[in-house]
């Protein structure tokens, strides 16, 4: 594939609003996971809640979009001058040739969950104030962003569970390469809601403690929320050496089970191999792997098999979900931005909360931060339904 430039990027999660705070937390190996006190949720678990989302206001002319998910999107847009960067791009390019590709798993379903508590006692109707299309529908977040930023190109939500916002890079890449658009706003936005908190709990996949990816005693995920964006363009002739490029995208399906990964990680392996193939890189060129690393016994075992089968046991790897929690549909984009931070700063984030690495997992899992030049990073995202996506990012020089 032809490389694409990440003209600008930003991320907002429980470890920070914007790049500077996120980097600072990663450097300090600080986790944002806290005991769950979200809404009326009564589950013994830890979550990665972004502070201050409730007080964010969406612009008045877009008030129908008001919900936690779009407030989180709005909060993230305001960091790192990202909103202004997109607006500048929109004046530079034809607005009709800037696409919007956003990953989410649950969008603003929290609004519907709350509305179901306020059903009319006699008719059962939802409250008149409930806005289906602008909050509940998966597309709502992409629609909010395109209207907020006045972008008029193709717009879509990719909703492939926890691989959603990794896969948006693939869709945007194809549309740019096909010549339909010149630039793309890509990203992921997923916010806390009862469906995922109670749902993962019902599957016994959420941990009562902060998640410990690749730990011998790992016992599940910690759910988080995040919004992360990047503006993708074709690179110009002159690049700065610390410009970040999208070099490879690999996608595959497990064809195995709805809610469990292939035990040997065959689907994950094919996604990583496809990413290397599209990037034209050998496994040895990858300096650091940002793992999917959710912290469930089966995911980490499956991913470890897959990573070792492609890279052997010596490529430094870690999951940043011990810090951020598993931000579900936003995880791919959040970890793409973390990969970009790693590349730009010559830094590999050590996995936090993991105290004793599972000796049966052969992947080289790092717990301490490393400081050395990083040229290529591979980032993994896998989801329910057996959907897999691996991305490769690199420095321009």
């Amino acid at each position: 594939m032809r490389p694409l430039l990440l003209e600008s990027f930003t991320a907002t999660s429980c470890i920070g609003l914007g790049i500077a705070q996120t980097f600072e937390s990663l450097l300090a190996q600080r986790s944002g996971l806290k005991n769950c006190k979200f809404e009326t949720v009564d589950i013994d678990t830890y979550i990665g809640e972004v502070p201050g989302v409730d007080s964010v206001r969406v612009p008045e002319e877009l008030s129908q979009f008001d919900c936690r998910n779009n407030r989180l999107a709005e909060l993230a847009l305001k960091q790192d001058g990202f909103l202004e960067t997109v607006q500048r791009a929109a004046s530079r390019w034809d607005r009709k040739r800037i696409g919007v590709f956003i990953g989410t798993s649950t969008a603003g379903i929290l609004q519907t969950e709350l509305a179901y508590r306020e059903r009319d006692l006699i008719t059962g109707a939802l409250p008149a104030s409930f806005e289906y299309s602008a909050t509940h529908n998966s597309f709502s977040v992409a629609d909010y962003l395109r209207q907020r930023l006045h972008l008029e190109g193709p717009a879509v939500v990719v909703s492939c569970a926890c691989a959603s916002s990794a896969k948006v890079f693939g869709s945007a890449r194809r549309m740019i390469e096909a010549g339909l658009i010149d630039a793309a706003l890509v990203g992921g936005v997923d916010s806390l809601c009862l469906t995922t908190l109670y749902g993962f709990h019902s599957l016994q996949l959420s941990s009562p403690a902060p998640c410990r990816p690749f730990d011998v005693a790992r016992d599940g995920i910690s759910i988080g929320e995040a919004a992360a964006f990047a503006l993708l363009e074709r690179p110009s002739e002159q690049l700065d050496s610390d410009d970040i490029l999208l070099l490879g995208v690999g996608e595959s399906s497990d064809a195995y089970h709805m809610s469990a990964p292939h035990p040997e990680g065959h689907g994950a392996r094919r996604a990583m191999q496809a990413a290397l193939r599209t990037a034209g890189l050998d496994p040895a060129a990858i300096d650091y792997i940002n793992l999917h690393g959710t912290g469930t016994p089966s995911n980490d075992r499956s991913e470890s098999h897959a990573v070792t089968s492609v890279f052997g046991p010596t490529t430094p790897s870690s999951s940043t979900k011990g810090a951020t929690g598993h931000t579900l549909g936003a995880a791919g984009a959040l970890e793409a931005v973390i990969s970009a931070i790693a590349l730009r700063n010559g830094f590999m984030p050590g996995g936090v909360h993991t105290t004793q690495i599972d000796p049966t997992l052969t992947t080289y899992y790092i717990r301490e931060n490393r400081y050395s030049s990083v040229s290529h990073v591979l980032s993994n995202s896998f989801g329910f339904g057996g959907t897999n996506c691996s991305l490769i990012f690199g420095r321009a020089g």
Binding site: S138, C160, R174, Y198, G199, S252, A255, F384, G385, T387
Partner: protein, 264 residues
């Protein structure tokens, strides 16, 4: 311009049991008489999985299977793009209802099935399809969003692909907020090169002309009331087996124009 060959078509909707029946209706051979959409049991799935699937999975699998059979391809060899404006409305209602009660007893199966990519996951399990599969939503524009994604995949990556667009209804109380009346799905197998099964070549561009409508008011009401049925003008053009151009509704003032050139 994005080009591909349509190798096989699957359709299931109110009074439309398959592509053959739909083509006869759309080419004016018989009068359209709507009836509730009948969804077949997904015999493709192992019995344990079959029991867990809702209407949206049955619909998507039925049209996907019809399209790949008509294209005479092994579905395991196809990448896929699934696009739906909503997903499984009944499952969503049950989850929201359970979460509104004090006990908050969520069924793990319902939760697993709540992901928007559930039909794609079941399709991949049923057929052994291990290539990339993308699952999209663009509200009322979901058919064209899927078509654009599918056409760019064929054009850029050069493989054959299955496009599946489908929508089912929500029960009350969400139904009042999103009044989709019934289930409708359509699937197309798209290939980069012409082969003996090719029905037509399609060329797709973004456009701003007014969208085509259906002259039969009942079909027009179907087109407008179920987002996946926004593809009806394209299906009509394919059914007529005549060269021509059709313009489909997309986002706001954006349209998708499809030039159809039958393979004879």
């Amino acid at each position: 311009m994005l080009s591909a060959y349509v190798g096989g078509i699957g359709v299931l909707g109110p009074g439309l049991a398959n592509w053959q029946e739909t083509a006869t209706v759309l080419s004016g051979g018989v009068v359209y008489s709507p009836a509730r959409t009948l969804l077949p049991t997904p015999t493709l799935l192992p019995p344990a999985e079959r029991r867990r699937t809702g209407r949206v999975v049955k619909l998507a699998l039925a049209v996907a299977l019809e399209a790949s059979s008509r294209a005479n391809v092994n579905p395991a060899q196809l990448a896929s793009v699934f696009s739906s404006s909503g997903g499984d409305g009944h499952n969503c209602h049950e989850l929201c209802q359970a979460l509104a009660l004090d006990a908050r007893e969520v069924s793990p199966t319902r939760f697993s099935n709540s992901v928007h990519n559930a039909p794609a996951g079941y399709w991949s399990i049923a057929t052994g399809a291990k290539l990339e599969s993308n699952v999209l939503c663009a509200f009322d524009a979901s058919f064209c969003a899927g078509l654009l994604e599918a056409m760019t995949q064929v054009a850029v990556d050069g493989g054959s692909l299955l496009l599946v667009a489908y929508d089912t209804e929500y029960p009350e109380p969400i139904h009042s907020k999103r009044p989709i009346p019934d289930a409708f799905g359509a699937a197309l197998v798209l290939t980069p090169q012409r082969n003996p099964e090719s029905v037509a070549r399609i060329d797709v561009t973004l456009d701003h002309e007014p969208a085509d409508t259906m002259s039969n008011p009942v079909l027009e009401s179907l087109r407008l009331s179920i987002p996946a049925a926004r593809c009806l003008p394209l299906l009509r053009q394919l059914a007529r087996r005549e060269a021509g151009r059709t313009v489909l509704e997309y986002l706001d003032v954006s349209r998708v124009a499809v030039n159809v050139e039958p393979c004879v």
